[in-house]
């Protein structure tokens, strides 16, 4: 598998994502600067977390208009897999590659902590190494992770089984107490209709190394390797 990580001014999880990808891939992804207008030939494009352009105006809004995002859209339309994590998810919604919007957390505070996620689907390139219904532990770290979409859009997501992850408690129960940011229906990650674009607020790259206290994120990268190699 060949991968590229997009770097915007203000990205700050680009290195973390590179390390996690390299660990699964056995080689390094290409780091592509936001001002570039061409992408190398890749199977996966990863949009990392951080505060692109300071997240001023709206999270992800300015990055969505970077020159490179036109290329990302073009590659995506050809079926190249796209993974957006945290700020990357926000960029993908602002770009229109994913529906809905990530609003300010309901308690208005930044939240950084481990959360539990229920893996909702395991038939995607991102999740084949998980089992649907499985509970995993991964951190979140965001200010604007409160997923919102209109009722029709929501119904469509659910009908098409495009909710990839939901916030849950340790036992897998989807409860309001387990929802760190007020997301509609505890949605933590969603897929596009082709199921080859995933946006998620939690950071699998931060728990892909036992030395950091957990390894549940690693299966996401392993899934990609087995699907795209």
């Amino acid at each position: 598998m060949k991968a590229a990580v997009i770097v915007f001014p203000g990205s700050n999880c680009d290195r973390d994502l590179k390390v996690a990808l390299s660990q699964s891939m056995g080689s390094e992804p290409a780091m592509v600067w936001h001002g570039d207008t061409a992408l190398p030939d890749v199977d996966l494009i990863a949009v990392p977390g951080g505060f692109s352009y300071g997240d001023y105006l709206r999270s992800g809004s300015m990055a969505a208009h970077s020159p490179i995002m036109k290329e990302v859209s073009r590659f995506a339309s050809r079926g190249v897999a796209v993974l957006g994590i945290c700020n990357g998810f926000q960029v993908l919604t602002e770009t229109g590659l994913l529906p809905g919007v990530l609003m300010r957390n309901r308690n208005l505070r930044f939240v950084c902590r481990d959360v539990f996620l229920r893996v909702e689907v395991d038939d995607t390139v991102f999740s084949s190494a998980y089992t649907a219904g499985q509970t995993i532990r991964v951190p979140v770290a965001h200010h604007d992770g409160n997923y919102f979409i209109d009722p029709d859009g929501h119904a469509q997501l659910e009908d098409e089984q495009r909710v990839a992850f939901r916030y849950c408690d340790e036992t897998g129960a989807i409860t309001d107490a387990a929802n760190p940011n007020g997301s509609l229906s505890n949605i933590a990650g969603i897929l596009d209709p082709t199921r080859r674009i995933l946006g998620m607020m939690p950071h699998p790259e931060r728990l892909s190394d036992p030395a950091l206290g957990g390894n549940d994120g690693r299966a996401l990268f392993d899934s990609l390797i087995s699907a795209l190699s």
Binding site: R58, S61, H65, V101, M103, R106, F148, G182
Partner: protein, 82 residues
């Protein structure tokens, strides 16, 4: 010349900040305040010129960057500098 832009959430879109303000106000003892909605207010300086042209340009800025038209409405006003 100045452009004044108001960006507000569309009706029906959840507004966590508005709701938090509403709660806080009632904590402070301000009763009866309801339906608090928080939006953005942006001022820009433009080179003097035709108002209609300027308005069209600023509307395009809103469409392309300033507003997320999936969830937000915008309103543009052009005024002469005071």
């Amino acid at each position: 010349m100045k452009a004044l832009v108001h960006i507000t959430l569309k009706p029906g879109v959840l507004d966590p900040q508005g709701k938090a303000i509403e709660n806080a106000l009632s904590h402070f003892g301000f009763e009866g305040v309801r339906d608090v909605r928080q939006g953005k207010y942006i001022e820009l300086d433009l080179p003097d010129g035709d108002h209609a042209d300027a308005e069209a340009a600023v509307k395009e800025m809103c469409e392309r960057l300033l507003a997320n038209t999936v969830i937000e409405n915008y309103r543009v006003e052009i005024v002469d500098q005071t």
